[in-house]
Amino acid sequence: MSDMPPNVPVEPVRRSLIERISIVWVIPALALIIALGVAWQSYQSRGPVIEIAFDNASGVVANETELRYRDVAVGLVERVTFTESLDKVLVRVRLDQNVSDYVDEEAQFWVVRPKISTEGIEGLDTVLTGVFIEGLWDTVPGTQIGRFDGLSEAPLSRDGREGLRIRLRATSDTGLTENAPIVYRGIEVGRIGRAEVSDDGSTVEAEAMIFEPHDRLVSDATRFWDTSGFSFSLGPNGAEINFSSIASLISGGITFSTIVSGGRPVEEGAVFSVYYDEGSARASVFAAESGETLTLSVVFEDNVAGLAVDSPVDLGGVRVGRVTSVNGLVDEERYGDRKVRLAATIAIQPGRLGLADEDLEPGAALAFLDRLVQDGLRARLVTASILTGGLKVQLIDVPEAEQASIDVDSGPNPELPTTESDIADVTATAEGVFERINSLPIEELMTSAIGTLDNISRFIGNDDLRQMPGDIRGLVGDARGLIGSDAAQALPEELSAAATELRLLVQRLNEGEAATRLLDAVDAVSEAGQAASGALEGVPALVERLEAVAAKAEALPLEDLVSEVSAVAASANALIGSEAAQALPATANAALNDLSESAGRALDRLDAVLNDVRERELVAAAEQALSAIGDTAGSVTDAVAGVPALVERLEAVATKAEALPLEDLVAEVTAVAANANAVLDSEAARNLPGAVISALDELRASANDTLAELSAVLTQVREEELAAAASEALNSIGRAAEDVSASVEGVPALVERIDAVAAKAQEVPLDELAADLSALLESADALIGTDAARKLPADLSAALDSLRQVLDDLREGGVIENANRTFASARNAADSIATAADSLPSLVRRAQSVLMQAAETLRGYDANRGVGRDAAQALREVERAAAAVSSLARALERNPNSLLFGR
């Protein structure tokens, strides 16, 4: 280390400023600039300081407590000091720049602290974070002031909600709870602020706010009432319990309603009354509650319990006031006795009377009431509630009341006249009702009802009744079978045939009058007999046919028939063998004896009459008549000429009859006979002879009387100039016979017609007829086989009893007089017969035309036309009727009760 390096000279060199300063100084410079920039910026963004004076700033800490607007921090408390006079706490708050423009004189500040109330828990977050100051201002920048007065309570619209601010005024004990909700139809639409006693101490007032948009619900017709809690009242109006919700039960609350339409919008800060309940709120609409009341006295004759202070005073249905006091009143001088009367003082609100505003003062109302009293208005006590027995005062119009007026001078108050009270004593009425119920004959009623029910059950349980539907059904079935049978359908033909026969019969009867003188007519008849012998040549053939028929009949199961008939005969024998039946001939004999005696007398009379007739010149007339009859017989001979053809026709008919199914018929007849046998065997049938005997007895008695009367009549006839009339009648008959002979000339044609009829008859479906007959017999069999038919004899004997009674009645009644009159009528009838004989020829002609018509009818008979169609329709109607009856029967069978219950 010997060669040390030369010492390095250190020569300070004067260098420039840039060379002497390190670049590193940029860093502090930069830091300084940044710091300054940040400081300046924060200073720039720093808002103004405002001072808020609070009564109480508990929990407010400088540099910690925030100022919040809508729960967002917009400032910080910088200092907490006192005002100059130490009466308030002054809080200095540094506002954020961005809201400072809006914090104008309208701004409100309050301290938010945790609060637990019936409305819930508020400000829970402040428990942890500490209290904060809430500010509220509008959204319009305004003039800035540095000093504010803080609110001790949160304002109503703490959330910045807009709405209508009103003042609520409550009287008495209606609760205006601070912060209680205002509910409209169950929805909270507003809030009540802090309540305070009004200046005069009579009411409680609170600010309230109805939030948008519900503020439009409030108009000057709106009424508020208290809904808090629940109320139970047992008053004149009955028991009432009323509460709206549990929430309002705890916290209280009011609600409102616009009672009438057409209210005007209200100004901010309008004052509303809060009523005790909805009823009074509604009642207040038409009434000025605040108006002065009219005080009246009322003295009632009845001194009864139930009227109390605050009882309503009603005019009609409107409550117009209330009772303010109730006292007794003794006024011997005025009423003349020492009775204690009920004197009530009533306060009437003129507004409730519906008077106009200018009449609301009591004087005008008194004058108005006085006019009403002069027209009959009276006060009376009425029952307000039958439950409580409470009374109320009712002002009522009493028609025809004595003239009266309000006694203005009486006592302390004007006195309203009264009338009789209308007090319902509910206990007495109820007792009367119970007594009446008690005295009802309930036991007897029950006994009767039980008996009735027993009878009904016996009636329903009766076997006969149970069988009745079955019987009815059988009956209806039988009727249907009968109606539906071919026999019924063949009825029109039979009817027309019967009509023809009827007309023939009539004609023959007419001829029969001539037979009284047969001797004279025998000649003509012999001629007719000759003609008949000619005609009888065809008879052997007919006989053969009949023999065949007989053979067939022989082949029939006649044994059965005979056995049945013999059984019938046996029954009949037994019947006849009965004592009554044996007595019957005796009775009949006696009756006949009587009749013969009577008839003998009558014949004697008749003989005498005829003698009289003979004596008169009747014979000549008769001879004339008989000659005419002889002529007639001649004509008949001619007419008989057509008989052989007729016989042939009959032969054909017989042939046809031969072909008939007589076996079936016989079987049916056998069955019928069997049934008839059963019928005859019945006891009733055995009783029948007795009934017949008694009936015959009656009849005999009646006949005796009648015949006696007849004989008397005949006597009378003889005495009178009847013979003359008879001769005239015989003359008429003679003329009639002439006419007949004239008419008989048309008989051949008639025979031809009959021939044609026979031909038609030949064509008539006898087979069907036989079948119909068979069906008819079946029906008849079924009919006889029914119980009803078996009961027939009994009915018959009952009918005979009835007949006997009738005969008794007849005998007792004026039969004789009636018979007299009858015979007088018979005389007149004889005259009529004479005149009728005149018209006989025309009658014959008519008969001829009828026969032609009949022939036409038979020829043209067609089931589809004319009568056939009508008959078919009629039968269908009958069938439908039968069907209806059948369905009725079925319905009855299914538901027999319907007979009883009508359904």
Binding site: P5, N7, V8, I21, V24, I27, P28, A31, A35, T129
Partner: protein
């Protein structure tokens, strides 16, 4: 180890050392022949750099202590603690050990560093009573311990990333953590900027007695 009182410096020996690879070169060499680093016998700007970083570091240290270091939010409360406030609170709860550790690591050491660096820098310019060896030891201690100051920031970062329990609890770094980190960094840079060779230059050790006499003489004049 006893170090001799009279130490010949490299400069006095006409040598120059590379500060990166510590190779010694003859005076006048511009660049290290081994690592290529520019070399000079003394860094003329060293004290300026020291002071510049020092100022920034101490400026950052103020908000680091004023502003909250931790932002702790639990279910029921939100808490913001400064460094000292947190330590005091811990001490209130009886955690003296932890409180002392925090105070030492976050307050005592940074403050000591500031003081040591400032003292070294002043001593180089105006002389100091401390011997050169003591100052060299101080400088080494400062440089060594500087990096550990970041442990605060490290703890905050660790807590912030671990305690994120949703609504129950959450820890977030406060603004002070940033300033604290900046302060530590600037302090480290300041210490590093200090050219420890200046300690050994003559004239930096002041004899206090002689100095006082000088001053008295000057006053007497």
């Amino acid at each position: 180890m006893e170090i001799a009182r009279d130490v010949t410096s490299a400069r006095e020996a006409g040598l120059i050392a590379c500060r990166r690879c510590t190779r010694v070169w003859p005076a006048g060499t511009e660049h290290c022949g081994r690592c290529g680093h520019a070399i000079s016998s003394r860094d003329d700007m060293a004290l300026q750099k020291v002071w510049a970083w020092w100022v920034v570091g101490i400026a950052c240290y103020v908000p680091a202590n004023v502003l909250p270091m931790l932002h702790t939010r639990t279910l029921v409360m939100v808490e913001e603690n400064t460094i000292i406030g947190g330590a005091v609170e811990l001490a209130h709860h009886g955690n003296w050990g932890v409180a002392i550790v925090i105070l030492v690591a976050s307050v005592l050491i940074p403050m000591g560093k500031f003081a040591v660096i400032a003292g070294l820098a002043i001593g180089v310019r105006h002389g100091t009573a401390l011997s050169q060896i003591r100052r060299q030891q101080l400088y080494e201690v400062v440089e060594y311990i500087g990096r550990w100051s970041m442990i605060d920031v490290f703890v905050v970062a660790l807590l912030s990333s671990l305690v994120q329990l949703g609504a129950l609890a959450a820890i977030a770094p406060g603004p002070a953590s940033l300033y604290f980190a900046l302060s530590v960094i600037c302090t480290m840079l300041s210490a590093q900027s200090f050219d420890s060779r200046l300690i050994w230059d003559p004239g930096t050790v002041v004899d206090r007695e002689a100095r006082r006499k000088e001053l008295l003489e000057a006053r007497a004049k």
